[in-house]
């Protein structure tokens, strides 16, 4: 790589000032906390306003990032035609020169310095971060719009918006971070908000405990974050200082160091493991996923924003961001079976199975989320970086949409119950729009062509297979089928069949609902809501809503609730096309703009102006002697690139050369088929199990017993039902799922709770036995000894002159004798 040419990178105001995206909501939060209550809309307008502003800037930044990327390609951008054909060829082939690595635009200030090291605070914008910035700003905005109506009249309305805004700010700050410390900052702020929002209705102990559990579980993972950061810092610091004129906290430096081949294996493996533990906690991966379902105790908007679409993907984002570390640490390059992939795989299946036996609609979605996060991890763990990141993007839309639909249902349809079996059913007639959105998102989630999920999830599965992880490939497919299954079940229970319970307009006292079923969080007990409720007049819209008022049955929700749902449904439909690999490279916007280019960059090119403004990049041209083959030859072309061998001297790689699978029609069909099968089975099951189970059924089974005695023919007639119900359902679905659920509740959950309980026990024991008895005892004991020895000596003070005299003379005599013996030789 000798000959080099110069490429110009453009920049722009939005890229330069992207830090505003995170700052504005933070300020917004402060304003809401301080003055929110006095404002006409109690602070919600601030939240919406700030997030709107952030969204605008994020959009601008996104556009300018695309320009920046294009600007690097010069005239070759025109020759886009070629790509249509030679899509999968290494870019070297096109126009004969490599596409350069696009440097992130960074803008940092010295935040703190310690013993000469300076740590920055600011923004570092590259494809991944700009994508997520936009996503987070967008979703947050929609969810807040949704909340306007959803939580109106809540006693802590203002606090709710404050926390939501703070969360957005935290997430944005983390996403735009250019150093680990800032990542930790955002990371922890999110944790705090999660705690506050899950426990939003803390009057109920269940919610408070759920909040505690969430924070605590995530915090356990955070140990990994701290340790990992420490390891990375001290590992990368020297390299960073020597070559990149920065320090070991800098993400770019960490990436470069990881790929530089200077890192000792031990260090990097430890670092990767530690960091991934943090991600397990945050992204609710097995075995730390148990907090996520409980987190549904929070209001629905919270679940939809934090616990499905944005916060929980922070873990995934972190892995994607410092991907080189994992790439090297888990040896993904050479198809090593990585920790990440395994965890991802397990999570997919475990949680998908669990989703089958949930009656709480939000819990179904929660387990579904866990399972989808599993897909992302699986992708990252197997080198399918691009699809995984893309899945973050699409999943956010449809999963958030699903949650909002659930919220809408409970808000207007099921009288604040989330219990599908008790209070729902047949709602499609009453809530057509919600139903439509739900169906669209469900199709997207299950990966049905042409909805968003299809393009991302199938790409993941495809690439997993392509990178040689056959088993995990099948796991992925299986997961897809399960997804189809449980989503169908949920859909059926909610929208089809006969209206039950609240959906049928029944009024049961919410208190006994709480009594018999603790999952029914989300609704607030009467006493409180009333106590909380400042203005009795808009009861109907308050979250606890119709409590104590006559109810006009299920109905469609208001505009403020429907608008976000519709928008999200739209994106759930179309967002997939932003990286529709099978349609050709011209559709691969993510591949072009989001995925960093695996090209080495000369140190001096970086140091010259420092990362940031438009720079003159030295682009190493690739020797023409390279292969010109197709297909797998592509991989060979990469096998000498970044992450597959140490970079040239004085150059640094920031991203490994990941392989992209060619979409094969067969594979697509296969996965579609699997999904279809899943649907088929599920629908059949639902129809048989739920629909046909009318009073006739019972009688028939009785008759079938009689039939066994004689009327074989009749008996055979219902043999299918029998088979379905007794054999398939009881025999297959239930045991497995139940077993999984049992393990989940008893073993894993038990472990988590056990840790807490054990800690407390240990505390008590140490305090009682060691602290009070041993340590403190020693102290008080010494005093006791002193005083007692005094007591022992008191008899000497007998008060008798003769004794005194004896003592006096005795001492003198003894002293004299001893000293005579000592001194007189």
């Amino acid at each position: 790589m000798v000959a080099a040419e110069v490429a110009h990178l453009s920049s722009g105001w939005f890229l330069e000032n992207a830090w505003l995206i995170g700052l504005i909501p933070a300020v917004g939060f402060a304003v809401i906390i301080l003055f929110g209550k006095k404002l006409p809309m109690q602070g919600s307008e601030i939240g919406l306003g700030t997030l709107g502003a952030s969204l605008v800037i994020a959009t601008g930044a996104g556009i300018q990032w695309m320009q920046r990327t294009n600007s690097a390609e010069g005239e070759e951008a025109a020759a886009g035609v070629l790509r249509g054909i030679a899509r999968s060829l290494p870019r070297v082939e096109e126009g004969g020169h490599a596409e350069p690595f696009i440097e992130p635009v960074t803008k940092t200030w010295v935040w703190w310095q310690n013993s000469g090291l300076e740590f920055g605070l600011g923004s570092s914008i590259d494809g991944l971060s700009v994508m997520l910035l936009w996503l987070v700003a967008f979703i947050s905005l929609l969810v807040q719009i949704f909340s306007l109506d959803y939580v109106r009249g809540d006693r802590r309305y203002t606090h709710f918006f404050a926390a939501m805004t703070l969360f957005s700010s935290g997430m944005l700050i983390m996403v735009m971070a250019d150093n680990m410390v800032q990542v930790i900052l955002g990371w922890e702020i999110m944790g705090l908000c999660s705690f506050l929002l899950i426990g939003h209705w803390w009057e109920e102990e269940a919610n408070a405990i759920a909040a505690l559990k969430a924070f605590f579980t995530v915090r356990v993972g955070d140990v990994g974050l701290l340790v990992g950061t420490a390891i990375l810092f001290f590992g990368a610091n020297q390299y960073a200082v020597d070559n990149l004129d920065t320090n070991g906290f800098n993400l770019g430096a960490i990436q470069a160091w990881a790929l530089s081949g200077e890192a000792s294996t031990w260090t990097i493996v430890m670092a990767a493991t530690a960091l991934f533990i943090a991600c397990i906690g945050k992204s609710g991966q097995f075995p730390l996923h148990t907090w996520l379902p409980d987190a549904m105790a929070g209001p629905t908007p919270v679940s939809s924003l934090l616990h499905s679409s944005t916060m929980v993907v922070a873990g995934v984002f972190l892995v994607a961001q410092v991907y080189p570390v994992f790439w090297e640490g888990f040896n993904i390059a050479n198809g090593g079976l990585s920790f990440i992939a395994v965890i991802g795989g397990i999570t997919i299946v475990i949680s998908a199975l669990l989703a089958f036996v949930q009656d709480d609609i939000k819990k179904v979605l929660a387990y579904s989320t866990v399972s989808q996060l599993g897909y992302m991890m699986l992708g990252l763990g197997t080198g399918a970086w691009l699809p995984a990141v893309f899945h973050i993007f699409t999943h956010a839309f449809f999963k958030c949409c699903l949650f909002l639909c659930a919220g809408s249902v409970s808000h207007s349809g099921s009288h604040h119950s989330f219990d599908m079996k008790k209070d729902m059913g047949g709602l499609r007639k009453y809530m057509p729009i919600t139903f439509g959105a739900w169906v669209v998102s469900t199709l997207a989630l299950t990966g049905v062509f042409p909805f968003a999920g299809f393009w991302s999830k199938d790409e993941i599965i495809d690439n997993v297979g392509n990178n040689g992880y056959t088993f995990l490939f099948w796991v992925g497919l299986g997961g897809a089928a399960l997804t189809a299954g449980y989503m169908t079940r949920a859909t059926y229970l909610v929208f089809f069949g006969e209206p039950r319970g609240a959906a049928a307009g029944e009024h049961h006292d919410e208190h006994d609902v709480h009594a018999d079923d603790h999952q029914l969080v989300g609704a607030v007990p009467h006493s409180l809501s009333a106590a909380a409720n400042d203005h009795g007049d808009d009861h109907d819209h308050a979250d606890h809503g119709h409590g104590g008022h006559d109810d006009h049955g299920p109905h469609e929700s208001g505009k403020l609730i429907l608008f976000p749902i519709v928008v999200l449904a739209f994106f759930a439909t179309v967002s997939g096309f932003s990286n529709a690999t099978p349609l050709g490279e011209s559709w691969e916007q993510f591949k072009k703009f989001v995925e960093p280019r695996p090209e080495a960059v000369a140190f001096d090119a970086i140091i010259a102006t420092g990362p940031g403004e438009s720079v003159q990049l030295v682009v190493p041209a690739v020797d023409e002697g390279g292969d010109d083959g197709h297909g797998e030859a592509a991989d060979d072309g990469h096998s000498t690139g970044c992450g597959r061998g140490d970079p040239e001297a004085a150059t640094a790689c920031f991203f490994p050369a990941v392989v992209h699978a060619e979409p094969k029609f067969a594979k697509i069909l296969l996965s579609l088929a699997v999904v279809a099968a899943g649907y088929a089975a599920a629908i059949a099951f639902c129809v048989a199990f739920y629909k046909k189970r009318d009073p006739r059924l019972v009688g028939l089974t009785e008759r079938s017993r009689v039939a066994r005695a004689g009327y074989l023919f009749l008996a055979n007639k219902y043999y299918l039902d029998h088979l379905y119900e007794k054999v398939i359902v009881r025999g297959v679905a239930h045991p497995i799922a139940d077993a999984a659920y049992w393990i989940n509740q008893r073993v894993l959950d038990g472990a988590v709770n056990g840790v807490g309980e054990g800690g407390k026990r240990a505390g008590n024991w140490v305090y009682d036995n060691i602290d009070q008895k041993l340590v403190d005892g020693a102290v008080n004991g010494s005093g006791f000894v002193a005083s007692e020895s005094g007591h022992a000596m008191q008899p000497v003070q007998s008060g008798k002159v003769n004794h005194y005299g004896a003592l006096l003379f005795g001492a003198a005599a003894v002293g004299a004798i001893v000293l005579v013996i000592l001194n007189v030789s």
């Binding site: 005094g790 003592l807 003198a812 004299a816």
Partner: protein, 505 residues
């Protein structure tokens, strides 16, 4: 034989007497006679005059001390070195006179209200002080012995001053018998020293005694002499008389004994060790090391048990004696010798202030409570904050807490010890460190009841403190504070040259 004695006696030269040098003693002698005569013919109603007069005698005796200090920088030696007035002697003379003055301030009301003999009291007090003043100049076994008895015998009687009170009698008798017994033992040792060195002059003895070739006679002599003074300074195990006597004797007398006569004992010990035994360090260093360690430890742990404040103060003064003794254990050490002397002197001065103060408080309070129990001090802070604060000052100072005088005294003692840089020194320092904490325990317990408890019988009528006691308190408080905050005030005295004629080891 007789002829040779006559021959000895024949060449007698009348010694030249430096009258200025002995002026303090003469003033005291005159004072004794005047007070005695006036007492003979004065009505009981006017006895208070005697107190004032005695006070003036003390101050009058202080005058020549000051002039001597101002004029004479070089030391004056009388009776060929048997009676020396040097800086060291002057400081201590002044100290004794001042202490005696304060004691008299304290005792005045006590005597008037107690209905004791007053005239005799003051006369005896003066005699005792005269003994002390002489002691600080005495440089000869005989003069030391005479001074010792002169200060002791009146003290025996003062201890028993409350004639009708059995405890007081007991105090006096115990003090007397043990005192005389101890001085008997000491004399026996002195006789050995005289025999072995053929001189009663300390410096000659010092010249004769040298480590390595000591014979049994000398060792026994050294040990007995030290033991004799160990009795005076109530060092364990020669302390047994102290608690009983202190408790039984009238409180002002206790104060006098615990400060003045103890100081006198130290004075004698210092001059003997520095002048007579500088080269017998193999004998006295282990002895004093042991005495010091025992004294501070035993005194403290026994004090922990006491419920009577006077008795507690008795034990506390025992343990304080241990701290004063500590540096002497390294008097022979080439590094520490000088600062050991300073440490002892400084400690004596500070100790005088704070201990007298403590007793003054006890007197002032017990005038109201009529009880010596520690519990009777409960709630003092409530109804007599002034006294409580003063008491806090003294006790905290005794515990050695900065910025009160006591800390500097203790600090100096530690400093002298550690300066020796020997292992015994470090061990002793460690023992002392632990002891400071133990002592703090009982001092703080008293302060605790003063500040944190309620008055035992809910009687919170204010305490009337007579003017003389207020004056005494004033002097002692100021002394304690000044020394603590600005130690230079006394360290400039403590910058002593080695005692005149001392043989530097």
């Amino acid at each position: 034989m007789f002829a040779f004695l006559v021959a000895q006696a024949s060449d007698w030269i009348t010694p030249v007497i430096d009258w200025h040098a002995v002026a303090p003693e003469l003033v005291l002698v005159a004072g004794i006679n005047i007070v005695l005569l006036i007492d003979l013919n004065i009505s009981d109603a006017k006895k208070w005059v005697l107190a004032t007069l005695t006070g003036f005698v003390m101050l009058g005796a202080l005058l020549p001390v000051v002039t001597l200090a101002v004029i004479g920088d070089d030391s004056r030696s009388l009776f060929d070195g048997r009676y020396v007035i040097d800086e060291y002697a002057l400081i201590l003379k002044a100290f004794f006179l001042l202490v005696a003055y304060v004691v008299i301030l304290m005792s005045q009301t006590e005597l008037e209200e107690g209905g004791y003999y007053q005239g005799e009291f003051y006369v005896l007090m003066l005699c005792s002080v005269l003994g002390m003043v002489m002691m600080s100049s005495a440089r000869d076994l005989i003069s030391i012995f005479v001074a010792l008895e002169l200060l002791s015998i009146p003290a025996y009687m003062l201890a028993a001053w409350r004639k009708r009170d059995v405890k007081s009698n007991e105090a006096g008798v115990k003090y007397y018998l043990l005192g005389v017994f101890a001085s008997g033992v000491m004399l026996y040792g002195m006789s050995f020293l005289f025999g072995a060195t053929n001189s009663t002059l300390l410096t000659d003895i010092g010249a004769a005694l040298t480590d390595g070739d000591l014979n049994g006679l000398e060792v026994v002599g050294v040990v007995f002499v030290i033991c004799g003074f160990a009795f005076k300074i109530s060092a364990v195990p020669f302390h047994t008389w102290a608690p009983d006597t202190y408790e039984g004797a009238p409180t002002p007398v206790t104060a006098f004994l615990s400060v003045a006569s103890k100081a006198a004992g130290f004075v004698a010990l210092v001059s003997i060790i520095f002048l007579a035994f500088p080269n017998a360090s193999d004998v006295y260093e282990p002895l004093i090391w042991t005495l010091a360690a025992l004294t501070m430890t035993v005194g403290n742990v026994l004090a922990l048990r006491q419920t009577n404040i006077v008795r507690m103060l008795a034990y506390s003064s025992v343990s304080q004696g241990g701290f004063i003794l500590m540096p002497l254990a390294f008097a022979g050490n080439s590094n520490a010798g000088g600062s050991a002397l300073n440490a002892v002197v400084v400690y004596l001065l500070v100790y005088g202030f704070m201990n007298l103060g403590a007793f003054a408080i006890v007197i002032a309070v017990s005038r109201k409570t009529r009880s010596g129990e520690i519990s009777s001090f409960g709630g003092l802070f409530g109804y007599a904050p002034g006294l409580a604060v003063a008491m806090t000052v003294f006790f905290a100072s005794l515990a050695g807490i900065p910025p009160l005088g006591g800390w500097f005294a203790k600090f100096n003692a530690f400093r002298a010890v550690l300066q020796a840089e020997t292992n015994p020194a470090y061990v002793l320092a460690a023992i002392a460190a632990v002891n400071t904490v133990v002592s703090a325990a009982y001092y703080m317990r008293v302060l605790r009841s003063v500040w944190m408890d309620d008055a035992p019988d809910g009687d919170t009528s204010p305490v009337v403190t007579p003017a003389p006691i207020v004056a005494a308190l004033g002097i002692t408080v100021i002394g304690t504070l000044v020394v603590g905050v600005y130690p230079n005030a006394i360290t400039r005295f403590a910058e002593l040259k080695d005692l005149t004629g001392a043989i530097v080891p």
